[in-house]
Amino acid sequence: MSTTTEQQPPQTDLLERPVAVAGDPLAAPSPKAPRRAARSMYQKHSKVYPKAVHGTFRRIKWAALAVLLAIYYVLPWVRWDRGPNAPDQAVLLDLANRRFYLFFVELWPQQIYYLTGALILAALGLFLATSLAGRVWCGYACPQTVWTDLYVWVERLVEGDRGERIRLDQGAWTARKAGRKVLKNLIWLLIALATGGAWIFYFTDAPTLLGEMLRFEVSSTALGFIGLFTATTYLLAGFAREQVCTYMCPWPRFQSAMIDEDSLIVTYQDWRGEGRSLLRKSQSWEERRAEGLGDCIDCFNCVQVCPAGIDIRDGLQMQCIGCGLCIDACDEIMTKVGRPTGLITFDTQTSQVAVATGGQPVPFRLLRPRTILYTLMMLVIAGGIGVGLLLKPGLDISVLRDRAPLFVALSDGSVRNAYTFKISNMTRDPRAYTLAVSGVTGASLSVAGDGQDEQAGTQRLTAGADMVATYRIFVTAPRTGLQGASQPLTFRLTSADGEVATYDSVFMGPAN
């Protein structure tokens, strides 16, 4: 069945549109030898020259492009006050100091699962969007799409629209051609550089880094990353373009699992358009209909604007990124020739089948098991993350028991265990804590190198702001109070302002 996911024409099944088949291949296999000779194992790249187009979807696409690029470039410059000794960048992935800052959220490495949650949320969001409206992500929001769109726009500015670009590429190398190409690539490279440059602002304090950049003092690591992202932007948006979507990205391969017959997709109404043929001046629409011809005047406008370089009239295809530009293109034509728009439309298969068979369009079903399920899953995960963040502790402790020696017998017969005790103070203030243990009769606490005497009750410990403090803790207990070789011991650390962290460990002693 892998064949159907590769290139899927569901309309073929639903609407029984004839497929281009050279005879029935199963019934009459033709001789193999000559065919093999003509077949290439490799696909020659044919460059796509998307034509300019105007219309609703194009406007949405421009808006999406502007908003997304603005977010990308502006976000690192947004400031967020976290008090003294803390970075004031709203979004900062501080890898060197192992802290992630996202507005009011501050993550330590051991809390990385919040990011996992966010990624799962993002994946579910993608699933939900796809089941609702096909590949809107691909068509409008994916960085590959956004930057490709920007690059094509530059290309159009410099080299002209589709026809001119084709002629320029096919024509001989002249000074004019070389000039255009150099100019285009120069602008592309500048955009790429800005893209790569902006990327690293997310990982260090942006104003500081910009200052360093202007003084040419950037570290080689930063330079390496700028270079990497400049190169990938330039290559992927300038040259690879739709090839990334068709051959490199895994998403098109399984997005069909999220689409069903109630998802909005870009569809060519073949029941209305077929019997496609050029419109002759003398011909009236009544005459065309009488001849069995459809509304499609075979002008190829939809094909020429398509950034994926495909013909939507072949049905839903893996290469289609659902950008809707072909809709704008065809609407333009339909308006010109005086036919209703929407020959290519954004609609569900259910509705299309109904209309094709003479019925009424079916209203879009927002609530379907899969959309409900995706939404519920998203709510659960978002709720979990939200609650987790609200209750996020400012204190975390970890206790590691010494294993060599397992325990130490003291000269008065009591038994002592040693523990490495770590306090993560995840707040912006130095804090004092009181440590107590419970679970072992008569246990007393002491801290190595601390100078405080052993005392039966508690120990006072401190940890600096945003720091991990490590202590070596000794717990001593009289042998008479022990039950067996190992028994549970609970550490309980209370901060001066009342936050409590507990840790369950064990206390070991002689077997009898």
């Binding site: 029935d24 000269s411 190198g449």
Partner: protein, 295 residues
């Protein structure tokens, strides 16, 4: 002209290959992808020229850049050593007590001390200083030669009964072999052993213990102290352990006590200042003190 054959369901051209009626679709790889493979192959050739690549018996092709992971390691180690230098000089210049008080130096001394300990000391004293018969536990509170950081520092520096002018104890002289040397007879030895047991409330023969007390006062108290509290407690540097204790270096049962009194004991430890530099010895002293037993 070859005739193209398309799959009825997907509309994709087939390769013409057929297995039991199943046809293979031809979804050709883009050419540029193929070229990327070629570029990778070309890249590997460049790699051969610049980096170590081919084994040549005992040697290998070195490559033009002269890259070597081994050398990188040596360099990294040297860099690390250099970074440690300022701590090592500081430790060498600071008394062990003051190291304990300085957070940075303490952390450095503890980390270093741990690896020095595992390298040099753990063979006898066990990992974490858990000790073994005849080799004192360093994590408990019994110290034959003193348990302050300064005491421990001196012991590690000069050793015990070692070939060093300032060594602890005297070379070749330990606890007297009261039996072997004919100072006490068997009965007296049994009595004094019983007395030691009685100090720890483990005696089963009160009469013998009573007689043993006299023997103790005459022969043992000089080193172990009048109330058997050990030589450190009475301010002597002879390494006589306290005898009122739950921790016995050689064993606290009667047979072992008799054996000890009969043959004597004389534990030794090398003088480490001859093998390790001062900063290392200081780090060790701090580490051992922090194992838990330090006084």
């Amino acid at each position: 002209m070859a005739q193209k054959e398309k799959d009825a369901l997907s509309g994709v051209e087939t390769t013409g290959h057929e297995w039991d009626g199943l046809r293979e679709l031809n979804n050709p790889l883009p050419k540029w992808w193929l070229y990327i493979f070629y570029v990778c192959i070309a890249w590997s050739l460049v790699y051969y020229v610049f980096y170590p690549a081919w084994p040549l018996g005992k040697s290998y092709t070195k490559g033009l850049l002269g890259y070597s992971q081994r050398e990188e390691l040596v360099q990294k180690v040297a860099e690390g050593k250099k970074a440690q230098e300022k701590y090592l000089t500081a430790i060498a210049a600071t008394s062990v007590e003051d190291i304990q008080k300085n957070k940075d130096l303490l952390a450095f001394a503890m980390a270093g001390g741990r690896s020095y300990f595992n390298e040099n000391c753990a063979a006898c004293h066990g990992a974490g200083g858990q000790g073994a018969k005849g080799f004192p536990t360093l994590a408990d509170d019994v110290w034959l030669w003193g348990g302050t950081t300064a005491d421990i520092y001196k012991t590690i520096q000069h050793g015990i009964r070692a070939d060093d002018g300032d060594t602890r104890g005297t070379v070749g002289i330990g606890m007297t072999a009261f039996g072997k040397d004919g100072i006490l007879n068997r009965e007296q030895i049994a009595q004094v052993a019983e007395y030691v047991l009685s100090l720890n409330k483990r005696s089963t023969d009160a009469a013998a213990a009573e007689k043993g007390k006299t023997v103790y006062d005459e022969n043992c108290a000089a080193c172990h102290g009048d109330s058997a509290q050990g030589s450190v407690a009475v301010g002597m540097d002879v390494g006589a352990p306290p005898l009122v204790t739950a921790n016995w270096l050689y064993g606290g049962d009667k047979a072992t006590l008799v054996e000890t009194i009969t043959n004597g004991r004389a534990g030794v430890m090398p003088a480490w200042s001859k093998r390790l530099d001062d900063a290392t010895v200081k780090s060790l002293a701090v580490y051992v003190h922090n194992l838990g037993g330090g006084k």
